[in-house]
């Protein structure tokens, strides 16, 4: 499972994405929103890479950049060794077959006016020239893989429950036999018992189809449960990264520690003394100087407000961006 010596399937190198935000309609002033700031990571084949972060941390923008839905401000994205930005339109289209995404809210990620057949077959119809009958067969196989029935083929989204909708979304994502699947909070809109079903399904198909996952969530427990690696994002930057167990049990960055302690847990032993943070995530268009977390940090030192810490290696795969780690 952990083939770390292989070449990475997806490599993000110093990715930056800035937006310009107009401050007021009348005045010409505008601020730069640093949605993603200098993010780098590698995802190895057949692994599950988890990204944890709260709202405003940039994970959605990161996904959009990886999938080339928006243009990068700077940085590179390498998929299967090739730089996505340097590919021609046709080559990019081909690459897209190997990268698919499952979105957060299945109630709105599926067109309510399309039948299940049309929804699941859309990627196939876009990228291939297969005739209708074969498409139907393939969709039936996909539906079976995700645990849905034959007669669901002609139904519409509003007839299904959240869990079933997410299965449809997964079937759609699998239709082009991708190598890489990005999952943006795939279970956040679902009930607990349904979450378990979807996570189990994802695990099963990962093994069956040799898939690589990028799993994004704000739920640290869930991410820890399913991922091999975890990266913690705050205000556009990765503040800590490493093997799932390392990050979860030995968090080095104060934000990770806070995240961990704030996450409600059923196990009493993981219920640490609550570190209550002050305030909330700052505005991305007006970030604090130095380390973005320092105004809320319980261990903030002088240097934290002045210099932004780099990601330092503290273990085999464990990295953290914090001045505390230095000492």
């Amino acid at each position: 499972m952990n083939k770390i010596d292989d070449k990475p399937l997806l490599r993000v190198e110093k990715l930056k994405k800035y937006f310009t935000k107009r401050l007021s309609v009348i005045q010409k002033r505008s601020r730069i929103v640093r949605a993603v700031e200098d993010v780098s990571f590698s995802i190895y084949p057949k692994c599950t890479f988890g990204i944890v972060g709260e709202s405003g941390c940039g994970k959605t923008t990161l996904l959009r950049c990886i999938f080339q839905v928006v243009k990068l401000t700077s940085g590179n994205i390498f998929f299967e060794g090739e730089n996505l930005a340097e590919l021609s339109r046709n080559e990019l289209r081909d690459k897209r077959k190997n990268m698919q995404m499952v979105f957060q809210n299945p109630f709105i990620s599926l067109n309510p006016r399309m039948s299940v057949l049309n929804i699941v077959s859309e990627p196939l119809r876009t990228h291939t020239e297969i005739n209708f009958e074969e498409i139907r067969q393939r969709v039936l196989i996909l539906l079976d893989q995700v645990g849905l029935e034959k007669d669901h083929l002609y139904r519409y989204p509003h007839e299904f429950s959240g869990g079933q909708l997410q299965r449809i979304a997964i079937a759609r994502a699998l239709s082009l036999k991708p190598k890489f699947l990005a999952l943006d909070e795939p279970t956040s809109a679902l009930d607990v018992s349904v979450q378990a079903q979807i996570i189990t399904l994802l695990r099963d198909i990962q093994e069956e189809l040799d898939l690589t996952y990028l799993f994004i969530s704000h739920n640290l427990t869930m991410v820890h449960h399913i991922s091999d690696f975890i990266s913690v994002m705050y205000l556009g930057k990765i503040v800590e990264s490493g093997l799932a167990d390392e990050v979860f049990h030995q968090p080095q960055h104060p934000y990770t520690q806070v995240l961990l302690s704030s996450t409600p847990s059923l196990s009493a032993q993981y219920r640490k003394d609550r570190i209550i943070t002050k305030g909330s995530v700052p505005d991305a268009s007006n970030p604090p100087s130095g380390c973005a977390y320092h105004p809320r940090c319980q261990h903030a030192m002088d240097i934290c407000g002045k210099i932004d810490p780099e990601l330092l290696i503290i273990g085999d795969h464990h990295q953290a961006a914090c001045h505390l780690v230095n000492s």
């Binding site: 809210n105 599926l110 067109n111 309510p112 006016r113 399309m114 139904r155």
Partner: protein
């Protein structure tokens, strides 16, 4: 692709399964619709009128009179058993004339709305989806058309082209399409932000496909509601044009030109003006209420308030 799929599906046994599923949905929609008595009544009224107009030769015993053959012996007769709504200034049975007059009037209303939609909806979708300078150009042209008072614009175009059914139709359609552009553009802007559009983009679906298969089906419902309500207004405007002589010319029957002729005789033969007028009112009102009722089915919010 969709048509191909449908054709092939007819041969498959799952057709019955699908029909059954769709049937249940339509039953549900009908039940919601039924509750609104006003809409139901207007629906029935429209159906009756349309049927009567289509089957005019069977409904009225005076088909030739409806088509303009005068019968000078029975001029301006009050409603009687022979002539249920009376006769006009040339002795023609009024009921027959109203029915036959309905043909151009209703057809005009229908075609105008169709043309307006055919122009307005795609423009709105393009303007909304692409935005930028295309959107700006389209919207400015739309605004231009919208700033003319509709009736005046229609009169001008019609007068320029010459009085006839086709020209009246073109004239009105040209004043009507901007509404749809505005409507559809607003809807498109909100729909294109929805996740499933993003999902399609991430898969690499082309812009054209996205507009056709994702945006349009989701904005069409609002347009249908608007179109239904507009049908009545289009009929009214068509009649307005023929009233001033720019549409169907006499002796062909048309509600508008019937009113023109009826004006002079209003004091001694009020039925002559009254009945075509009431028919117009009924048609416009019914389409309006029907559109309201449709909106209530389509908009789930208002459904809950019943």
């Amino acid at each position: 692709m969709i048509i191909l799929e449908k054709v092939l599906n007819i041969t498959s046994s799952s057709l019955f399964n699908r029909l059954e599923i769709r049937f249940q949905e339509y039953v549900l929609m009908w039940r919601v619709f039924k509750r609104d008595y006003l809409s139901l009544v207007s629906f029935i009224v429209i159906v009756l009128i349309v049927l009567a107009v289509i089957f005019a030769p069977i409904v009225t015993p005076y088909p030739e009179q409806g088509e303009g053959l005068p019968n000078l012996e029975s001029r301006l007769q009050a409603p009687s058993t022979e002539h249920p709504l009376g006769t006009d200034e040339l002795g023609r049975d009024l009921f027959a004339r109203i029915l036959y007059g309905g043909r151009p009037s209703l057809t005009l209303g229908f075609l105008v709305v169709m043309i307006a939609c055919a122009i307005g909806i795609p423009l709105g979708a393009i303007a909304g989806y692409f935005g930028g300078w295309i959107g700006q150009v389209i919207m400015r042209i739309t605004d231009m058309f919208l700033s003319f008072p509709a009736l005046l614009l229609a009169i001008t175009i019609s007068a320029a082209l010459g009085p006839s059914f086709t020209n009246a139709m073109i004239a009105i359609a040209l004043t009507w399409w901007p509404q749809y552009t505005r409507l559809v553009r607003a809807q498109t802007i909100s729909v294109k932000e929805l996740t499933f559009v993003e999902a399609a983009k991430a898969t690499g679906v082309s812009d054209l496909s996205i507009i056709l298969r994702h945006i349009l089906p989701n904005v069409i419902t609002v347009s249908i509601v608007q179109a239904t309500m507009d049908m009545g207004s289009a009929v009214l405007m068509g009649s307005a044009l023929s009233f001033i002589g720019l549409g169907i010319q006499p002796p062909k029957a048309d509600w508008g030109n019937m009113l023109t002729s009826a004006r002079i005789y209003f004091s001694n033969a009020p039925w002559f003006a009254l009945y075509p007028g009431i028919t117009l009112l009924l048609v416009a009102l019914s389409f309006n209420l029907l559109g309201d009722g449709l909106r209530d089915i389509i908009d789930p919010q208002s459904r809950r308030q019943r």
